[in-house]
């Protein structure tokens, strides 16, 4: 009986004490490696609980704790790893640190990925 009570307490605690915010916005990128980089880097940021970046529409969905991080901080973090967001453009320096295939500002690379995408289908 004690254990059931304990489980219920754990359950209700985690449901009650969360200051959780969900936001969806644009993050530029071009391939699966970008997705990997964006998601794996963001999830390690304190306060971010969940990230999912969609390659098709380049929208990111972020779930975060408002007590630990705010939205501008998330935007500037994403820019700092080299990806433009609809609020902040990444610096030349951080953009240049991206792998060659991830250079989303380069038209030819974007078209290249699109072609490959069609071929894969």
């Amino acid at each position: 009986m004690k254990n059931i009570l304990f489980a219920l307490i754990v359950l209700s605690c985690s449901l009650l004490f969360s200051q959780t915010e969900v936001k969806t916005f644009f993050v530029d990128g071009v391939c699966g490696m970008c997705k990997d980089r964006i998601e794996k880097s963001c999830i390690k940021v304190k306060g971010i609980k969940m990230v999912n970046w969609n390659l098709d529409n380049r929208q990111i969905k972020v779930v975060y704790n408002t007590k630990k991080i705010d939205l501008p901080e998330i935007h500037s973090f994403i820019a700092s790893i080299g990806h433009d967001t609809d609020m902040i453009k990444a610096s030349e320096k951080s953009y240049n640190s991206l792998d060659e295939c991830c250079k989303y500002r380069d038209e030819t690379i974007v078209i290249d990925h699109k072609k490959k995408g069609i071929n894969n289908n």
Binding site: N3, I4, F6, A7, L8, V10, L11, S14, L15, T20, V22, G32, E39, K40, I43, K44, I48, K49, M50, V51, V63
Partner: protein, 688 residues
């Protein structure tokens, strides 16, 4: 179209989250993109060693029910339990099915009294996929799994064919009908009605031992599914009702199953088993649509099983009423690299069991077993090399008392294409000796219960209720390596698992004319090694081969012995061909499965008269199954197959077959097929 895909993804995600043990494979999908989708897949990144069989894999062997679904899966061994009842048993890591937690959509189902024939009540066409977990598995589904878990997902009304009809006929005069009907009732409600009927009339005796090679009889099986789906609110729910009636008649060729002569002792040996099962399930899952890592799952199941068997001189009647319920909450700690599952579960079994053995022994075994407990599972995925899950549960059981079940699984990515899985965990269960060893009634063996100290050569007569609950630790490691060989994909898997029993109800067949049940004193263990190599020869041809070595030993009264009728060595080879799909949708599929099963130890027959003694070991046997499938178009396909193409027949599976009412009669010495070669054919028709 897009919304449909979204919906399917959503459902997939929901079912993963809310109903328990399956690992989150959403990331995994991206890594394992192959040219042709494999029908049998070992999870590469998940912490547990899970093999998933898709419905395509199940079509490779025209399996008629769950017990026959593993013909093309080397991890599972399938064999007959005796020479009369036609019942098939499955084994994993050298241990028989009671040691495996077998669940249907994550509700533990083939357990208790259903151990005897329950696998036959799940028709093959109803199965959408099967997940086989080697090792202890998750704590979410309970404490009972010792050697592994098997979960079967059934067809869902929302994505199954509108209409599906399957007809099957075999040389054994076994006829099967499977139909699925699915319809949309409204935006949120879908309904499915699945029907199965089979009959078997053939009473051939191809090995000339005076007994029918397999029973005659039939089954009616009805499944009603009501599914509620609401992606906006994040809700999914199932309301299911299932009814099965199964009747089998078996025995000597001259035996007639006629109630009007029931009171008279029949001059011929024979009998029948009549089983009925009713099941009602309610399942409900909620996923927070905004925050998909938070979800809640609830399931409730009621099962009423009754089975009456008259077997020769013996009677076994059992009725089991069961309730099972659990509540699972999924969330994260901090971020999605740290996932947790926690919840509570409740289980209740009421058994009403009566045994009359050989008209001289009576056992009335009415008993109630119930337990409730809580569990917590933590999963850490660093999104790079490590995926770990640690689970613990505490249960309070009216017979076992309070006990802890810890389980640990770790996956470590050594190289990008090589992963190592390690697992350790405990399982505890109550044995149901008569349902689990139902084959004992197909012999003249007298039942004994023993008590310690057995090993002073003093036999202390004891009784059923002195048998202790079983518990065991299971440890294992598995190395998965994907590589390219001559420019084609190949995968090598090396598995080693060790199961070590703390307590076990030892089933001792070593004294002819007797079966002894007693608590383990000393050691009982199962070691299993498997090397499996799969190779994609071309994009049309897949080859899967495996070699298994097992070492299963128990300290019996007569000393430490290898478990009887359990092969030490087995080789498996499957060759699968599939032609490219033509524009009209037509495909050819061809499958060839070869099994070599090494010698197996017979239980001792030393004390029998010379005429009734068996060799120490069985011979090794070679078995071939093969099947050709022609898909004509999207809606119609036909298949033709041969089971046991080498026409292997065990000629003398019954000891004292000419004196079935005598004390030496025993049909449990089965190591291979009795019927010989068998042809079958079938049709499938579907409307999407």
């Amino acid at each position: 179209m897009k919304t449909r895909i979204y919906l399917l993804n959503f459902l997939f995600f929901l079912s993963l989250l809310s109903f328990g043990q399956s690992e989150d494979e959403t990331n995994l999908e991206e890594v394992t993109i192959n040219y042709n989708k494999k029908s049998s897949k070992v999870s590469f990144l998940s912490s547990q060693n899970i093999t998933t069989l898709s419905s395509d894999e199940l079509l490779k062997a025209a399996c008629c029910n769950l017990s026959e679904s593993f013909e093309t899966t080397p991890s599972i061994d399938v064999n007959f339990s005796d020479a009369i009842s036609g019942t098939k048993q499955i084994k994993m890591l050298g241990l028989s099915s009671p040691n495996i937690l077998i669940s249907i959509e994550n509700i533990p189902s083939i357990r208790g009294a259903l151990q005897s024939h329950g696998l036959n009540y799940i028709p093959g066409t109803w199965i959408e996929s099967i997940q086989i977990t080697k090792g202890p598995g998750s704590v979410v589904n309970g404490f009972e799994s010792i050697t592994g878990q098997i979960n079967a997902e059934l067809r869902k009304p929302i994505n199954d064919d509108k209409l599906f009809v399957n007809l099957y006929a075999s040389e054994m005069e076994r006829y099967e009908l499977n139909t699925h009907y699915n319809t949309k009732l409204s935006n949120n409600w879908d309904y499915g009605l699945y029907l199965h009927a089979n009959t078997k009339d053939n009473s051939d005796d191809r090995n000339n031992d005076g007994f029918r090679d397999s029973p005659t009889g039939g089954q009616i099986n009805i499944y009603n599914r009501l599914q509620y789906t609401n992606p906006i609110k994040g809700l999914v729910s199932f309301i299911d009702f299932n009814f099965v009636n199964d009747k089998r008649v078996f025995g000597q060729n001259e035996y007639i199953d006629d109630p009007s002569i029931f009171e008279l002792p029949s001059p011929y040996w024979g009998g029948s088993t009549n089983s009925t099962n009713f099941k009602g399930n309610f399942k409900m899952g909620y996923v927070n649509p905004n925050i998909p890592y938070q979800s809640l799952g609830f399931q409730f199941s009621y099962n009423h099983f009754s089975e009456g068997s008259d077997i020769g001189f013996s009677i076994h009647d059992v009725e089991q009423k069961s309730i099972y319920s659990n509540l699972v909450y999924n969330s994260i700690i901090g971020d999605t690299r740290h996932k947790i599952k926690t919840g509570i579960s409740f289980s209740y079994d009421n058994y009403d069991e009566f045994v009359n053995n050989m008209r001289i022994q009576n056992f009335d075994l009415d008993r109630k077993e119930y337990s409730y407990g809580g569990f917590f599972e933590y999963n850490y995925d660093n999104l790079d090399k490590i995926n770990l899950s640690a689970g613990i549960r505490y249960d309070n059981h009216n017979v076992i008392g309070g006990f802890v079940t810890p389980r640990l699984h770790l996956n470590y990515l050594i190289f990008p294409k090589t992963s190592l899985k390690i697992s350790a965990g405990k399982g505890t269960r109550m044995a149901n000796i008569f349902s689990e060893n139902h084959k004992l009634f197909y012999s003249s063996r007298i039942i004994f219960f023993g008590n310690s100290p057995l090993f002073d050569n003093v036999w202390n007569q004891s009784n059923y209720f002195d048998l202790k609950p079983e518990s065991a630790w299971n440890y294992g490691a598995s190395l998965i390596n994907s590589f390219r060989l001559f420019d084609n994909n190949a995968q090598l898997i090396l598995d080693y698992y060790f199961t070590d029993f703390e307590n076990q109800v030892v089933v001792d067949w070593e004294t002819p004319s007797a079966i002894l049940f007693y608590n383990l004193e000393g050691k009982s263990f199962a070691r299993s090694f498997q090397a499996q190599l799969s190779y994609e020869l071309t994009s049309n041809i897949n080859i899967l081969s495996a070699y298994k070595i097992s070492d299963v030993k128990t300290d019996y009264l007569s000393g430490r012995l290898y478990k009887p009728l359990n092969p030490k060595n087995r080789f498996f080879l499957n060759f699968a061909y599939q032609s490219n799909r033509k524009n009209n949708g037509s495909i050819w599929k061809y499958d060839f499965t070869y099994n070599w099963i090494g010698e197996q130890r017979f239980p001792s027959t030393q004390n029998n008269p010379i005429a009734y003694r068996m060799d120490e070991f069985t011979p090794d046997i070679n078995l071939i199954n093969t099947q050709l499938t022609r898909v004509f178009n999207k809606s119609f396909e036909a298949y033709l197959g041969i089971e046991n193409a080498t026409n292997y027949k065990q000629m003398n599976p019954i000891i004292a077959n000419e004196d079935p009412f005598g004390q030496y009669f025993d049909s449990t010495f089965v190591y291979g097929p009795i019927f010989g070669r068998m042809y079958y054919l079938g049709l499938r028709y579907r409307i999407n």
